[in-house]
């Protein structure tokens, strides 16, 4: 992977890795027996390992060709591999925590494997590990192809990718050791958060600098979504993680936001993490890979602009719907509810735009499972945004909030939309990146598709049932005005659904493992594509065409 770096760049890479290792040493010294000390050792090993990798091929031959004549794909390839590795880890943890709910003995009586510590490893593993790496990889690919320019840096793409993975590593290992800020999707502590700020700002600068190099007059809409994702996630991350550590030598910190303000900031962050991390970036993928795979331009470019601005400006205000019936002022709750309902318009505009793009290419959707992944993703995007708007309405929320319905909704979005569009994009990207004719096995893509669909449907239906039963049991009163069911009664009623949910998740995990194998074999064994100057992306051979 160093073959593309000059000797000077290799020196810088070595210095960077050394600096990271030294920072780790400092953390280990000040942190001592605190978790901060353990994390110092992890950072040291990470930096040292990278330094070792750089040194191993330090004196290898330097690049001789003109590097600006080709796109910079090495970091993208590594990003795809990391993304799939995190997918398997994160989804496995998901199946484990799902099984824990049905069979609590699966915690094996250890502190690190309790539900409260395992659950954030699942959410961080899939959202940041799987989703984040896929976003970084595809954004690097899309921005180069749509701008017709090489990435504006040689080292910075590596810094962004590997630095982000160091953050994920610190976050996940911290949860197992008992570290948490107790903020949903922002559980990692202050030092990891500071590190992510550095990484993320570098990402933003790199992206803007690449766009500035573009040879196209117009910035293609997919880049708008990726830029919104990068910029807004930076803002959200910084504001929500403003915290004061209890000392420089300890991992624990306290947020600067008091009481209900903290709740509002957290859910402004939390909902926009869904909006900009799990939606905007993946819409960027949708607007590039779906037209490319379908070999048809997007149905309406104007509509994509309108829905872009709708999504960026409406989502910002929707967070307070997580705090219905709380100490938050009533009008702020109403504001969040109204914007959530309005969000249906730009969301359905994007989903409709994607489906109408496929109008006229339905035979390809039928024959090509990769394109079907993206079609199903658009359908699930439409379904889960409708469900989300509906659940944000205060009286509906009275029934759904704190129940499994919410969990079902999140997974309709995360499995049905985010994961499906990612797999569709990766199956389009992998053959073109490694210059293969097609994926190793079209049958395995098909198998993955049906495992993913079956898993999602089983999961979501189980959670709908259990959520609504739970919500109704909690609000059923006897004639005397007492609650008819105890909490444990509702828990017993959940039991079959918890098993079904774990099974659905297992199917999805197996699908991801099949995908990993297929990608691996494509890189190793699929026939090389004939050299040809056009068509960046060549879909699998379509029978009957």
């Amino acid at each position: 992977m160093l073959a593309n770096l000059t000797s000077l760049e290799r020196q810088y890479a070595l210095m960077l890795a050394g600096a990271v290792a030294l920072a780790g040493l400092a953390m280990a010294v000040v942190g001592r027996s605190d978790v901060l000390g353990v994390h110092g050792v992890i950072v040291m090993v990470f930096g040292g390992g990278l330094a070792w990798l750089v040194m191993a091929s330090f004196y290898g031959p330097e690049p001789t060709d003109d590097r600006t004549a080709a796109y910079y794909d090495d970091p993208i390839k590594v990003g795809i591999v990391l993304s799939m590795a995190w997918a398997v880890f994160g989804m496995f943890m998901g199946v484990w925590v799902a099984a824990l709910l049905a069979w609590p003995d699966l915690a094996f009586d250890a502190a690190w494997s309790t539900f409260g510590r395992l659950r954030p490893t699942h959410t961080t593993g899939v959202i940041f590990g799987f989703g984040g790496n896929a976003l970084i990889a595809t954004s690097f690919h899309v921005v180069q192809r749509t701008s017709r320019a090489r990435l504006a840096g040689q080292l910075s793409p590596w810094f962004v990718l590997l630095g982000f993975n160091l953050f994920c590593l610190l976050a996940v290992s911290g949860y197992l050791l008992g570290v948490t800020q107790s903020k949903e999707y922002a559980e990692a502590e202050w030092y990891a958060d500071l590190w992510l700020v550095i990484v993320w700002v570098t990402y933003f600068v790199l992206y803007i600098a690449t766009i500035a190099r573009r040879k196209e007059p117009h910035i293609y809409v997919a880049n708008w979504y990726f830029m919104a994702f990068i910029l807004v996630v930076a803002i959200l991350h910084i504001v929500n993680n403003l915290a004061v550590p209890i000392s420089w030598g300890q991992a624990k910190s306290y947020t600067i936001w008091p009481g209900v303000q903290d709740a509002m900031v957290q859910w402004w962050y939390g909902h926009n993490a869904v909006a900009f991390f799990l939606t905007a970036g993946f819409l960027g993928m949708l607007y590039y890979y779906l037209p490319v795979r379908a070999k048809r331009p997007i149905f309406s470019y104007r509509l994509s602009i309108l829905s872009f601005w709708g999504i960026t400006f409406f989502y910002m205000w929707a967070g307070s719907h997580h705090l219905h019936y709380t100490a938050l002022p009533h009008w702020v709750q109403t504001l969040g509810m109204t914007f959530s309902v309005m969000l249906l318009v730009p969301s359905w505009a994007s989903a409709g735009n994607a489906l109408l793009t496929l109008n006229g290419a339905w035979h390809r959707v039928r024959d090509d499972a990769t394109l079907r992944f993206m079609m199903a993703a658009a359908v699930f995007y439409g379904l889960s945004t409708f469900e989300g708007s509906f659940m944000a309405i205060r009286p509906v929320n009275a029934l759904s909030h704190y129940t499994d319905w919410t969990v079902g909704h999140v997974h309709a979005g995360a499995l049905g939309w985010v994961a499906l569009i990612t797999f569709g994009s990766l199956y389009t990207l992998v053959p073109s990146l490694w210059k293969r004719e097609r994926m190793y096995s079209a049958t395995l893509v098909e198998v993955h598709f049906w495992l993913a669909i079956a898993g999602t449907v089983i999961y979501v239906f189980a959670m709908w049932n259990s959520g609504i039963i739970q919500g109704l049991m909690w609000r059923t009163y006897t004639q005397e005005g007492a609650l008819a069911y105890s909490f444990v009664d509702s828990l017993v009623a959940m039991y079959p659904y918890y098993i079904a949910r774990a099974f659905g998740g297992l199917l999805f995990l197996i699908g991801a493992i099949v995908g990993c194998y297929n990608i691996w074999m494509t890189v190793r064994a699929a026939p090389l594509a004939a050299l040809r100057s056009d068509a960046p992306v060549q879909p699998a051979a379509v029978p009957g065409e």
Partner: protein, 57 residues
């Protein structure tokens, strides 16, 4: 001027709405301006059928 909670609420409830509407109008103008039609048409076809190398002068 007195910046009470009510003042800020009144400000956000009125101007918060107006600037969103103004913004909406700007976006519509940008999207539907006939002058931009060619630009958008080119953009939407630009991602299809092209070399897989950066553009060179």
């Amino acid at each position: 001027m007195d910046f009470s909670h009510e003042t800020l609420v009144a400000f956000s409830k009125s101007w918060g709405l107006f600037y969103m509407m103004a913004f909406f109008l700007c976006v519509c103008v940008y999207a539907f301006l006939p002058r931009n039609r060619k630009r958008f048409d080119r953009a939407k076809h630009s991602i299809l059928e092209r070399d897989d190398t950066p553009w060179r002068t």
